[in-house]
Amino acid sequence: MNREPVETLLRPVESLGRVSLDTLGSLGRFGRFLGEAVGWAFVPPFKVGNFLERVHFIGFRSLSVIILTGAFTGMVLGLQVFLTLSRFGSEAFLGPAVALSLIRELGPVLSALMVTGRAGSALTAEIGIMRITEQIDALTVMALNPMRYLIVPVIVAGVITFPLMTALFDVVGIFGGYLVGVRLLGLSEGTYFGEMQTFVDMADIWTGFWKSLSFGVIVTWVCAYKGYYSGHGAEGVSRATTHAVVLSSVLILVWDYFLGSVLP
């Protein structure tokens, strides 16, 4: 019997099957990666030195980027929201409008995106280079767990620095809105800050906090994972870096929408 027509028919099915299995397989690996890291995060000895280094790298060295983007975001908000509100004669609400957009949305999202660009890509490249130059294998054969030495410090640093960076972004942004709204456009200082206190709830701050905290996990998880499993050679690392930035950014926005719809 001639089996060729059957095989030709089955080939697309076969490759579809292989692609789905591959995708499922790497999704499983992706999930297990975080699971393992979280597990090791609670097992001493803790690598405090490595952790502080990562806080410095992800947090401290992103400060200028955060301050710059925070200030301009606040100023743009101040200007645009003022112009919009003045059409309804309700400029008095500029303060709460700026503060709420920053605290609930723009602060967490924009600072996460900026840190992804500044530190996330570098993190993927660094871990990827350690992979291709066998430094990760060297840790493994020294019977030192690369998860504990390399990955846990990164993720814990992300969890701690992202909310702090976001808080800074919010504060600088609110000040930027103040510069434009009060200093430039003539709103009274008391109105700007007073209305803010009336309208901004603790719940808004918690929303921003949970967002920034989960973005910290997402960005460090994706970037560390992509570096850890980067392909061969310089090309493998550069591809991993691109993927890490794209995937982090997409996940930030998707997760932001999701949290925005479940959190108060």
Binding site: Q135, D137, A138, V141
Partner: protein, 248 residues
């Protein structure tokens, strides 16, 4: 004793190891030779537990390490010292810290004791006083020597060398070989070394094994290998172009 039996490994359609069988006695220096791309590094990575074989077993003192995971494999690795082909130095640390690192992480020695041992090992590989440099600032040959110092600083029982001397000048090749022999005399470790240094290796190996097309085609003492009747071995150690091995 390390016993490797019928080890198979393929990457996709490429069959790299096709039934490697080899015994390495305790305290012996076994040197594995074979063509570039022939699977020597892949073979070593199986012994280190970095790759899992498709079939076959590896016994280290009677324990099959291919079935070991996590802590159990780490206990075997604690007896190992490894010199990777590319050095695999941590480039976030200075040369000195690279050598001191295994002691800091795996022993309870005092800081002074660690500093003394690390400096001693660096001096033995001819790099005394170079500890403050970064791996990125030193030459390829120096990186190899730092990797050797780092592998030996914990005085391991079993040492793996993946081409420890490739790319070094002839004087250094001899110096490194002498260093390995010296340290071997002192610590009696088992050494499995991949090397292309023919004929120098015949002066330091206890036995030599040739890996060719996925199998060990011959094992024997240096004189026996040099007199081998196997045309593959003869062609390889003479570096001839004509013969059963095709230069591609």
């Amino acid at each position: 004793m390390i016993r490797i039996e019928n080890l198979h490994k393929a990457f996709g359609a490429q069959r790299v190891l096709q039934g490697v069988t080899l015994e390495v006695l305790s305290g012996e220096i076994m040197i594995v030779i074979g063509r570039s791309g022939g699977g020597k590094s892949v073979f070593l990575k199986h012994l280190l537990g970095l790759l899992q074989p498709d079939a076959g077993g590896i016994w280290v003192d009677g324990v099959d390490i291919t079935s070991l995971r996590g802590r159990a494999m780490d206990r075997v690795r604690e007896r190992y010292g490894v010199v990777f082909q590319g050095g695999a130095l941590f480039d976030s640390m200075s040369v000195f810290d690279n050598v001191a690192f295994p002691l800091r992480e795996k022993t309870d020695l005092s800081a002074e004791e660690i500093a003394a041992r690390a400096e001693e090992k660096l001096t033995q590989v001819g790099l005394g006083g170079m500890g403050h440099k970064n791996p990125a600032e030193i030459s390829g040959g120096m990186r190899k020597r730092v990797a050797i110092a780092r592998a030996l600083v914990t005085e391991p029982e079993i040492v793996f060398f993946d081409e420890p001397t490739t790319g070094l000048d002839p004087v250094l090749v001899n110096a490194i070989h002498h260093l390995i022999l010296d340290l071997h005399r002192k610590f009696r470790f088992t050494a499995i070394m991949v090397s292309h240094e023919i004929p120098e290796i015949f002066g330091i190996a206890h036995r030599v094994a040739m890996l060719h097309e996925g199998v060990i085609v011959e094992t024997g003492e240096p004189q026996a290998i040099q007199r081998s009747a196997n045309p593959v071995v003869q062609q390889f150690i003479r570096g001839e172009i004509e013969g059963p091995i095709h230069a591609t």
